[in-house]
Assembly symmetry: C2
Homo-oligomer: 316 residues x 2
């Protein structure tokens, strides 16, 4: 499901490393050269390049890139060059340092990753930040936000397909009762979303719709400005249909006055090798324009070129 | 720090497997033979034996043992023969099915294991029980108990030695304030115990003692019959000085009218290859009798023999 296009045959790593060094040296930076290499290598290949670069030049490739590049292009190349667990740890750490809008990033990391991906992100978090994701999330949030976010980032969910229909019915009823009472921060309400497997939650929410006639997210729309409710809706979306959630994040990023490059970069860099193809289809279905064309309309320069390279264009 | 004594040279696995089979067959079971083999093999060796047994006789060794053995001896051999992650998953699952006293087992699993041991137990839990430890803990507890237990079993704690003294002072103050107000279920109170690294919690509790003149556990003793407070004290003990905690569990198990074999078996089977030597020293310091002698006084038969074998006696 990767959008990436990787050349066959692949040039030797030593060539990639030498070319990158060349792109950094001399008068100005050769951004096109950087894009033509890093924009067309998969995660393992980028990892090998980064290791070889460090060995050859005794400098971290990421640091070298950050020195040479600027703004949105720099951030995209930076995120993209990181390994996925490290990247998630980086994004999570950033999110624990800022306020509400970044809570959505935490929900996204907690609910769209597989259990093992989330675990490896937490491991990388220890190594990079010398503390745990859990303690940072707990420390930087309060009240209902903490009550929801901490178990979401903490749980190691079961990932099997098995579904218990008795539990699905009972818990759909609990969810509905709590929503009727506007008890959105209820312990059981959060427990169900934070600890059940995605398959089980899906069954519960299907039963919710069958029994009570509406999507749960419709019922969680009482007050569109309530940030906690909006976070609950994101939780549900990320758990049940992540590709559609991401397509919507991209849509909002592009439709915003002035584009939200932060969100666009995050989704492209984190999903390219996972489900960006499906996200792009979902995007086109909802917006009647292919994702790459929407990106061309809304972005410019090296940033645009790098996005398109990661999306699989070959002429970057 | 293992108490175990393993023969040199080690007999070939095929011999062990054959001997075990022999112990099961014929008239009655040869318990001594079982003890002489399984009581003197380490975790990796037992794993290899179990695999070879399954391959040779197309039967799970654990099932064969459960068929042949009974009561306390059966449970000890069963727990001992499991791999540690599987054993923790088994104990945790059992604990989620029973009430309060088993909450202590959950605290013990969550707070005395390393972060990776706890993670592997959760992985084994998925494989064995087709659901997550988190959802079972959340489902089987309510109120304050859930509020404490769920983050304890969920967190993947940082394990470095780094300590932030500013945080230690600030959080010691928070703990003391909450205790003064008897707000034992306060969000921040639980957050600190559930998410900080063990080194950090240790620094915080040392500062607590320096600043407020008493061990936190003394301040958590307000009502000795309050089960939630008792669980908080166990949490502190397991995090800060697990060997002493385990020595006390054994002491209580032995001093009880009729011995609490469940607890004794659990501690011996789970700690033998980790810190049972230190636990035994701690036990002797507090009780003025060596642990093995206390066990001889309090147990009998094959159960006694197997306990002593795991404790390193060679004449079982």
């Amino acid at each position: 499901m990767s959008t990436l296009s990787v050349p066959h045959p692949l040039p030797p790593v030593s060539d990639d490393v030498e070319q990158l060094r060349k792109a950094f040296s001399g008068w100005g930076t050769n951004e096109n050269l950087i894009i033509s290499i890093l924009g067309h290598r998969n995660e393992v290949q980028r990892k090998v390049i980064r290791e070889a670069y460090a060995k050859t030049y005794e400098e971290d490739l990421i640091k070298a890139l950050n020195k040479e590049l600027t703004s949105d292009f720099e951030r995209l190349v930076h995120l993209w060059t990181l390994e996925s667990a490290e990247r998630d740890a980086f994004l999570a750490n950033e999110a624990t340092k800022r306020w509400t809008s970044s809570n959505q990033v935490l929900v996204e990391l907690a609910c769209t990753r597989s259990s093992d991906q989330l675990f490896f992100a937490k491991k990388a978090y220890h190594a990079l930040h010398k503390k745990s994701l859990e303690e940072d999330v707990a420390y930087h949030t309060t009240g209902d936000f903490r009550k929801l976010l901490l178990p979401l980032v903490s749980s190691y969910r079961y990932e099997g397909d098995e579904v218990n229909l008795t539990i699905a019915k009972a818990e759909a009823k609990i969810l509905h009762e709590k929503i009727s009472k506007k008890a959105y921060n209820d312990d059981d309400f959060i427990r169900i979303l934070a600890t059940r497997s995605k398959a089980q939650i899906n069954a519960t929410l299907n039963h919710y719709k069958d029994a009570f006639g509406k999507d749960i997210n419709k019922d969680l729309k009482e007050d569109p400005k309530n940030e906690y409710l909006s976070l609950l809706r994101s939780t549900v979306k990320c758990l049940v249909f992540p590709e559609r959630y991401f397509a919507k994040i991209i849509r909002e990023a592009i439709n915003k006055r002035g584009t939200d490059e932060g969100a666009l970069t995050r989704v492209v860099a984190t999903r390219a090798e996972i489900d960006l193809k499906i996200i792009a289809e979902e995007y086109q279905r909802r917006n009647s324009i292919p994702l790459d064309r929407a990106i061309v309309k809304d972005t410019t320069g090296d940033y645009e070129k790098m996005l398109l390279a990661i999306l699989g264009h070959n002429d970057a």
